[in-house]
Amino acid sequence: MKRNIILFLVILCGFVLQTTLFQALNFGGISPNILIIITVSYGFMRGKKYGMIVGFICGLLMDIFYGDVLGFYALVYLYIGAANGVFHSIFYQDDIKLPLVLILASDFAYSFTCYVLLYLLRRRFDLIFYFKNIIIPEIVYTVFVTVFIYPCILLLNRSADDVERGDNKVV
């Protein structure tokens, strides 16, 4: 229960910070994608199911506030969370390489999906431009921010674990 409350607060903080603080800290109009960091992290830290649920909630939040169609971002994030859950079995807490690589790959997949579904289908064919100006900067910035945010998520996750185990002992 406690873990779920922490999870909910993490998502809420991530969304609020992404829409306020990180929009103010943008570089050339590009801001990092905190929600994808959260989704991916929970995906491989807790497995498929958690990844899916976290992704779904994150996406739904984005849909409600900024999506044209309710459910679009939820679907994209849902699959990203699920895909990252596959890597749960090779996850070690001390290793930061795996999270970085996964977040890089996931953000790329997310951006590319957004480009194809939201832009390419509306006759915006200049792939190189969007790569250079949106996708690559976003990935670089997101991976950079990951270095600072991921340890926090890890720490929260670990402390939630302790609490959970402690609860079990008492019961």
């Binding site: 910070l17 829409t19 109009g29 801001s31 929600l35 899916m52 779904f56 409600i64 506030f65």
Partner: protein, 289 residues
């Protein structure tokens, strides 16, 4: 390295592939619902309004406070220097002011003549603060801190600094989402003020880099439209009130079909540094009644 901790699942656990299927179905159903009906997720809007918006409000207020303080500190030195320069300027400006006062009378007279005056100041407006921006990098929407509780509604026009910013597309009790006219998927029916020729203002992410918006489908057979002409919202738009300034034409090109023209518009609003906006409390539909 600590071992991976695996907890026993609860009794009623669903296999993950079924969960994936269920959630996918929910997403698809939601998409279908939003596509085929006008159901605008108002209960969800209300819920997140109470959960998320207060935080956004708080964070953006704190952020503004901090950035204002930072600016103050940094600018103190510059301000002192500027103060001296400004004192000199005051003398110059007093002279200019009298000149401008005269011009203002003339302007008022001309405004009356053009009946332009009533369009802006006639509408009742309410100010709102931008508290959050689109979380992605693909579109330029933002959230303002007023909603249905303050009398706002979907399709109300939003202006800032005398120019058109966009319109409200989604709303909750204490927040509203504004879609900017520079958005890649935004199309606004506009009109060249000087010649009354209609055109379509099309937002584009690519052109946004240069700080301009595109336009197309300008039917100007007599070549009367020139660079620098004012572009305002047209009478035939069903969402935007007529004669709100969009920007000034900065480039015109003949289309390949030799009938229409397209080009670029410099927007009247500085979208990069938008903080406060005005919402016109009237929608086009109301005015028609």
């Amino acid at each position: 390295m600590s071992p991976v901790i695996k907890r026993k699942r609860d009794k009623f656990s669903i296999p993950s592939k079924y969960l994936l299927l269920i959630l996918t179905c929910i997403c698809v159903a939601l998409m279908a619902v939003t596509f085929f009906t006008d159901y605008s997720a108002s209960p969800l809007n209300k819920l997140v309004g109470y959960v998320v918006v207060p935080f956004q409000n708080g964070v953006s207020r704190v952020g503004t406070w901090i950035s204002v303080r930072m600016d103050e500190l940094g600018e103190l030195r510059i301000v002192l220097q500027e103060n001296q320069e400004l004192k000199q300027q005051i003398d110059e400006l007093t002279v200019q002011n009298t000149q401008l006062q005269q011009d203002k009378y003339e302007l008022n007279y001309l405004r009356e003549l053009y009946k332009l005056d009533e369009q802006y100041s006639g509408y009742e407006k309410v100010g709102a603060r931008i508290i959050a921006r689109d979380s992605g990098n693909w579109f330029h929407a933002f959230t303002i801190n007023k909603g249905t509780d303050d009398g706002l509604a979907i399709d109300m026009n939003v202006i800032a600094g005398g120019g058109l910013v966009g319109r409200i597309v989604d709303i909750g009790p204490n927040w509203a989402k504004v879609d900017a006219v520079i958005n890649d998927n935004a199309n606004v029916s506009g009109m060249v003020l000087a010649s009354s020729d209609n055109l379509v203002v099309q937002g584009s992410l690519q052109l946004m880099e240069d700080g301009v918006i595109g336009f197309g489908q300008l039917n100007d057979s007599q070549n009367r439209v020139e660079v620098g002409d004012k572009v305002v919202t047209s009478n035939i738009s069903d969402k935007y009130l007529p004669s709100i300034l969009i920007g000034y034409i900065s480039e015109i090109d003949q289309d390949a079909n030799n009938i229409t023209k397209s080009g670029k518009i410099t927007p009247a609003v500085d979208f990069e540094h938008l903080e406060e906006v005005l919402v016109i409390l009237k929608t086009k539909q109301q005015i028609k009644d």
